[in-house]
Chain length 510, copies 2
């Protein structure tokens, strides 16, 4: 099979549509009026100082502003209760709103923004209110913890009075989840992870509710793993899987991302490692939901992804990046991705073997086992004879990513796996992960290699560092040595509540 | 009677409410794509150059903009038909709209605005469109002939395509009005006057649909006079009169202006000359509509206005401005208003005598006639024995306004009236009118004094000069010697479709 039938694709899209849910908003008020002050010790140089309980109503004259801290990251519409005081409204009221996930967004002007992604992702609005309604609900959805309300212009006869402000917060994550984590530090990490997961669970699993707001296959797998152990919204996973599968390309490749609006549409991007992991995502969904019917429908498509990646193997069974595909693995700018991608394919093949076994498809089991054996041979060719480390690319690069994925793909197991992981951890020249997505797979690899202690330490060190910097949700990008790091040319456009960073919610409940 | 009963006031407000109409929008498309270029010969230094028929759809990349000329001044909501082209919408689309009644508003940046009225009157919007709908109707009402659409930010994968743009134009003026004017010049003036009147006829008679957007008593009278001879929407006059009368102050003064939204409310401003003319407005309404019932209800309030102004007379029966009231007359900065206000009171008294006669109220007729005789005496004291001109204030100022209002009030009549009007017209030191409101009354005074030729010449000279400068509607403020003149510190905030400037529609049909 190269591609499912058109009828099958249409059916998946119809199922996805039928599972689109209406999110019920919950009204959340800010916890404090605040100011934001420069502080070199604070995250990105900005510290939010709470001024005490929110003291509404607040009268604001032209040129005045007020900052609200909602105490936690929220996703939803903004409700403003504005009134006119002193005299009648003799002119429109012009108001600017700036919404931020982190303090920098409400502290630094957007005018000088020079990132590579659209400036339109920065969350600000200018409202011209001819008539100040008592309750104004803005039409857009925002992702924020902080809101600055600035009165750009009143009339001569009136001032503005802000009587109330609230977020109509939405999520598809329902119910209370018992905390996880053996101590306070881990429970704090867990709480932030749960909020990250919750705030990305909308009408699909979004990657970031502030920026990008798309369903991505790679992020979906990690969110779904967290979801199975917490909110258990299986319909949302099913809808997401059906959307992705429903837009399968002519050659059988599942797209890396899908847009929901104005109508569901393929993002027309394809990522080789994400394709490979489609089968794992289908298997894990079926294991959690017991919906083996969907798994049966999607299994041939999952196996097709493995075939697509396998076309990139050389005569020795080693993955070779021919440059025709986007191989993601990580945002790191220096990482050579050959060995890691080889490991992803091995790992993906193992999960597809499991899938074929569960579905009682012996011929597929046999075929995939043969492939894994071939990949085993191919992996050996990337190993350094002395250290046992996997070397990637012509430069024979040593990286955390290569070792982690090779371990997850069982190119090495047990003590051998632990050995390569420990060696890179101790080698300052090894290329480290550039962000949470790859850090997650490193922790997973450690756990698989029996390195419970190291995995625990890394989780505390990496995700804990975000919590210690005041994170209310986990960030898309985090480099402890460079808080302004951005793959997009500006820290302002980074997403600070990001799907692939929610994995402690899974790791702490594994 | 000092003030009508509370029941009466409530009844008027209820009548006003019952006469609030729903305006039915008419879809109007631009006539051309255009550019605006600096040209010292053009009005305010800006010339709009049409680029030919509107060539939609237009593809706009980030940073690009397009200007539309609708060919005439319109009032209404804006409809945009936007699409995303080249790729999927991978980011919000950020669009800026700038709407202008005159070219300067779409040519000069608003950032440096330093007028005294709110910057919020300048018509611009920043839209952040998460999903580009096919048809977007902006919620606000604008007043404009020109619209600039500027694409502030797209995403990496898409451009914006503007497929359509239209104004959903509204007015309470229905039906076609046969043109007036003996020649092409006058018919051109008439057409602009009709459009001015039409675009100020909304759910009340507004003073300016761009800026202020209020019902003003003084403007109402002039609009109503035009309306009786053209669109004949008597309900709109009745609603406007009832709103003003319904908010009569404790002392019996009718407010100068009223706000309609969010609920009808007095503007809490009182203008002595506007109060005086309330009776004239009631009389003229009843004459045109035959609704003598409303006139009967409102007559005591009309007479009360005369009494309020009469309290300002000195022992000789001459008006003395004690500074406790706003006396408007004109926007001129140098005009001394004593003599003009005296003339307004005489003119208003004459109309109230007529009103009392029509309503068969002989005691009021007698009382008001005695007042007019007293005012006649008082007026004589302001006259220069040699020239016969009326002198105003301690400086004994000679102005057009003084002579015009004294003539309208019949302090002088016939040849005597013509003499004072001709004298000021020929005297370069006489204070000229500062704007259309007073120019109207000068023309009226000339017509009353039998100066048909001079009235006609002045109309062609003053209103014709606006038409020659490209006016599509007549302007709130126009000084032929200073095109940037503004009572508010910036020509950008002037209203360029203004109620009190519509009077050629009346004068040409008198």
């Amino acid at each position: 099979m190269v591609r499912p039938s058109d009828e099958q694709l249409s059916e998946w899209l119809a199922v996805a549509e039928s599972l689109r849910s209406t999110l019920v908003p919950e009204r959340v008020e800010p916890v404090a009026v605040a100011t934001v002050v420069a502080d070199p010790e604070a995250f990105q140089g900005w510290r939010v100082v709470r001024q005490g309980e929110r003291a509404l109503p607040i009268t604001l004259k032209q040129g005045e502003s007020v900052l609200f801290d909602f105490g936690e990251h929220l996703v939803g519409q903004l409700e403003l209760r504005l009134r006119v005081v002193r005299g009648p409204q003799d002119a429109p009221l012009r108001v600017r709103l700036v919404l931020g996930e982190v303090p920098a967004e409400v502290a630094e002007p957007f005018d000088h923004y020079s990132g590579w992604l659209s400036r339109s992702w920065l969350q600000d609005e200018v409202l011209n209110l001819d008539i100040v309604d008592e309750v104004l609900v803005l039409p857009r959805r925002y992702a924020f913890q902080f809101v600055k309300v600035e009165i750009l212009a009143t009339g001569r006869n009136f001032d503005a009075q802000l009587e109330g402000i609230a977020c109509l917060a939405v999520t598809a994550a329902q119910g209370e989840v018992p905390p996880a984590g053996a101590d306070e530090e881990l429970r704090a990490i867990d709480a932030v992870a749960l909020r990250t997961l919750r705030n990305c669970m909308l009408t699909v699993f979004e990657d970031g509710p502030k920026r990008d707001r798309r369903l991505w296959l790679g992020d979906l797998r990690l969110q779904a793993l967290g979801n199975y152990r917490t909110y258990r919204n299986h319909d949302l996973v099913k809808r997401s899987l059906c959307l992705l599968a429903g837009f399968t390309r002519e050659d059988g490749a599942v797209p890396a991302c899908v847009y929901e609006y104005p109508r569901a549409k393929s993002g027309d991007l394809y990522i080789l490692d994400y394709c490979a992991l489609f089968g794992a995502t289908v298997l894990e969904y079926a294991e959690s939901s017991s919906d083996w019917e969907l798994a049966r429908q999607m299994a041939p498509l999952a196996f097709r992804q493995i075939d697509i990646v396998s076309e990139k193997l050389d005569e020795h069974g080693t993955f070779v990046d021919d440059g025709t595909w986007w191989v993601f693995i990580d945002w790191s700018e220096t990482l050579d991705k050959q060995a890691a991608m080889h490991g992803v394919l091995m790992c993906a093949t193992l999960r597809c073997i499991e899938l074929a076994e569960r579905l009682e498809m012996p011929k597929e089991v046999q075929r995939l086992r043969r492939l894994h054996e071939r990949l085993q041979v191919g992996a050996e060719r990337l190993r350094d004879a002395g250290t046992g480390l996997f070397l990637s690319g012509k430069q024979e690069q040593v990286s955390w990513g290569s070792q982690a994925w090779m371990a997850l793909g069982e190119a090495v197991t047990g003590d051998e796996a632990a050995s390569v992981l420990r060696q890179v951890a101790e080698n300052p020249d090894a290329v480290r992960p550039g962000g949470p997505y790859l850090y997650h797979y490193v922790v997973e690899a450690m756990l698989k290699a029996g390195m419970q202690r190291e995995a625990d330490a890394l989780l505390r060190k990496y995700w804990g560092a975000m919590v210690r910097r005041g994170a209310s949700t986990f960030w898309e990008v985090f480099d402890p040595t460079d808080e302004h790091r951005s793959p997009y040319g500006s820290h302002l456009v980074n997403s600070y509540c990001h799907a692939w960073s929610c994995t402690p919610a899974y790791l702490l409940r594994r």
